[in-house]
């Protein structure tokens, strides 16, 4: 164990030294200190083990074993053939990152109204006005015990800073696209860092997508924070379609102001191993969130979603629907916590997790979890694991549809309940097609 720890930290250590050298004095001194503290923390705690309750069902030993080379120290791979990943609606409102580094020649923010910033996080740090909010956000994350968070804080070198001024409503979806691919030899690691600040009564749609042109082994370790001011409305669509050999570990952390509304829909289809931690904190009255997701895995894929909805103030509402479709020898983990803190009266929290097992060797571990410390609340959760209803298949068969297409149709419908929440046509079309491809069928 100790020798393993030594090799993993030495590979990141080299990268960490290189990064400090590269950034030199360009970064604020507080950030440099924070990176050093975070890296020290990472060296102390390492990657989490299955002995920890939060990682009980997800073993990240394969990540610890591989020698990932953070991409900034790796030169930049070519940017050809990425056209397939463009969504029409966001053609002129997108930032493209390749192996975690912003590629300006592939990006465009022309469609965004004046006053809206969608810039590289490094640039934001260098420009005075955003330093405070960035520092607050980074400092908060730095308090996390997680080794992955610490590693990201120590090593992130690119990412996005999105700012929507008060009262501004952005029509075009803001697309943050992360494309990764390992070149020959070294497995790349990227550490995207995103901060979205939506000021009072603003509205925007954020699309966060992960994709790869090939099937190489690489690591994505991302942290995305979303801050909503009073009355702000943010739609956040995350589409994870990494290479099926890749590792994807990501945190989404949203904080809602009074009467703010946050709609998140997360699709997890890629990666050999993916872990998504999504935390929503409602510390102001009247906030509302929808935290939905679909995971669809096959073969030996492993996907893990840990969500936490934290009701800290009265009159907040949360809705959660997570669905899973598992085939092959895949494994899915869902852990959904809902906290209702002392005094958070008149909370309404609903959570549902449904899993469809298409193969006899797939495995689901689900743990919806309610912790309630206020009495005048409406809270409910439900979880189900099963297969398609025989009655439903029979119904379709009685209409002349053969059993195989009937099953596919029902599975497609099962997924569609989540996919249709994504209000952008081209993404929905892409996902519909991806679901059908997985089922080896067409409609």
């Amino acid at each position: 164990m100790s020798s393993q720890l030594a090799t993993q930290s030495s590979s990141y250590n080299t990268a960490f030294r290189a990064l400090l050298e590269k950034t030199g004095n360009a970064e604020p001194s507080w950030l440099r200190r924070m990176r050093e503290d975070s890296f020290a923390h990472f060296e102390r705690v390492g990657f989490p083990s299955v002995k920890e309750e939060e990682w009980k069902y997800t073993n990240v030993a394969p990540i610890a074993k591989l020698q990932f080379v953070p991409a900034f120290a790796n030169g930049q791979p070519g940017g050809n053939g990425f056209g397939a990943f463009v969504y029409d609606e966001a053609r002129r409102s997108r930032l493209v990152f390749v192996n975690g580094m912003l590629r300006r020649e592939l990006s465009s923010v022309e469609a965004l109204p004046a006053g809206v910033s969608v810039i590289d996080i490094g640039e934001a740090l260098a420009k005075g006005p955003n330093e405070t909010s960035l520092r607050e956000s980074l400092e908060r994350a730095a308090k996390s015990e997680s080794g992955f968070t610490a590693l990201n804080t120590a090593l992130f070198s690119s990412g996005a800073f999105v700012f929507i001024p008060a009262g501004v409503s952005v029509a075009a979806p803001i697309h943050l696209q992360f494309i990764s691919e390992s070149s020959h030899g070294a497995a790349a690691a990227s550490f995207p860092r995103v901060l979205v600040v939506a000021a009072e009564n603003s509205a925007a749609t954020i699309v966060e997508s992960y994709a790869s042109p090939g099937e190489s082994v690489y690591l994505t370790n991302a942290i995305v924070e979303v801050r909503l001011g009073a009355g702000a409305h943010v739609q956040h669509f995350k589409v994870q379609r990494e290479s099926t050999s890749a590792f994807h570990v990501a945190t989404t952390d949203a904080e809602l102001g009074a009467n703010a509304r946050y709609d998140a829909t997360t699709i997890n289809m890629g990666a050999a191993l993916s872990r998504h931690t999504i935390d929503v904190t409602m510390d102001h009255e009247g906030a509302e969130c929808w935290v939905d997701g679909l995971y669809m895995v096959d073969a030996n894929q492993h996907t893990d979603t840990h969500s936490m909805i934290d009701h800290r103030q009265p009159h907040c509402t949360s809705h959660q629907l997570y669905k899973g479709i598992l085939d092959g020898k895949s494994r899915a983990v869902f852990n959904g916590k809902v906290f209702v803190r002392h005094g958070a009266q008149l909370t309404n929290a609903q959570q549902t997790n449904k899993n469809l097992l298409l193969s006899n060797e797939a495995q689901v571990n689900t743990k919806p979890q309610l912790e309630i410390f206020a009495d005048d609340v409406k809270c409910a959760h439900g979880a189900a694991v099963g297969q398609l209803e025989a009655d439903e298949i029979f119904y379709l068969e009685s209409r002349g549809i053969r059993p195989e297409p009937a099953r596919n149709l029902l599975t497609y419908g099962f997924a569609e309940e989540v996919i249709e929440k994504i209000k952008i046509d081209s993404i929905r079309r892409e996902l519909d097609q991806a679901v059908l491809n997985r089922l080896h069928t067409t409609l």
Partner: protein
Amino acid sequence: MSTAEILTNREYKYGWVTDIESETIPRGLSEDTVRLISQKKSEPEWMLEFRLKAYRNWLNMQEPRHWPNIAFPEVNYQDIIYYSAPKQRAAKVSLDEVDPELLRTFDKLGIPLSEQKQLAGVAVDAVFDSVSVATTYKEKLKKHGVIFCSFSEAVREYAEIVRKYLGSVVPTNDNFYAALNSAVFSDGSFCFIPKGVRCPMELSTYFRINNSESGQFERTLIVAEEGSHVSYLEGCTAPKFDKNQLHAAVVELVALDDAEIKYSTVQNWYAGDEQGVGGIYNFVTKRGKCAGRNSKISWTQVETGSAITWKYPSCILQGDNSVGEFYSVALTNHAQQADTGTKMIHLGKNTRSTIISKGISAGHANNSYRGLVKIMPKAENARNYTQCDSMLIGSDAGANTFPYIEVMNNSSQVEHEASTSRISEEQLFYLMQRGISQEDAVSLIINGFCKDVFLQLPMEFAVEATRLLGLKLEGAIG
């Protein structure tokens, strides 16, 4: 009255102490203590070996502190008396030889031990501190081939059966408290229902802690052979002491082909006072194995007492078509803490399990349901339905749900539902405007909430449980 108003709670009516001379061993735990207990009970060598193995396992184990949702100060395991027995004449052949003071104690608890006075149809094994003081209706049961006696007697008289099944469901290294119990358990009950016999009466054990310094470590083993049926009840109380006492029991059930065991508990250990001083730490391991085809094990529990309850009566559904059930009402008031639930491990084909849990939390109490439903790859067509509802009374109480669901094949179906509610003003108002007093209205609503569970209890117990709940919650609602 529209706001919560706390009236004084009725006294815990079982809080008195019996003044009786008892024989205790020095406090503390070592290999010598284990040997001494075994020696006092004149146990055979294999029993001592079992205890020593457990003790050695225990030394290397940790208290389960990090995962349960309970908090309690350090327990000094060297400050506990591991054996305490009322002094008595050598052998008690009949009830006439039992110390009259003990008979009076159980009379006062409402458990008369003389057979004439008893509720017809219930046989009782009465356990006082570390030993069983009397078992009723033994002779009548024997006629049917049913063995019902104290655990010590079973070790002497029915060594082969005990040896075959002891530790087969809860191994000595299962968990910290089970290991401790396996090392130092003093007495308990043993039931054996032979092939094809339907036990003619309810069997029950009544546990009483009397000594303020001792812990209680009892062991229960119930074996139901092919095609047999038994219903077993368990009750318990303890005096009020302002020191916490440890109760770490182990219950093992084994059901062979077509056998059925129904196990009901009404737990009313002393819960400590309103500030949470004193009370029993109820750290119990209960597990049943449906070893045979078509067997069934059903747990029903009404948990109202104890400062802390840490208890997960479980079923291992090994035989094909076997059935596991868990019906629970857990009530916590004042500073009580409960982390309780069940585990349903599906191994066999077509196995089914049902979990109905009702948690009621009042005062500053914290009530958690924690359950595991595990469907193994070979458990084809397994089915589970879980429903856990919580009721919160007052704004300082907590209710938590931690269901773990692990499914490893695709022909099974698992459903889990949970909800949280409270007694609404409208419900109370409706009942009160019909002339029902507030107390009765609350009791009516609570009993309605718990009805699914109470229906599973044998009649006498259901009446007792209903009354107990009303008593415990008296004044918690305004």
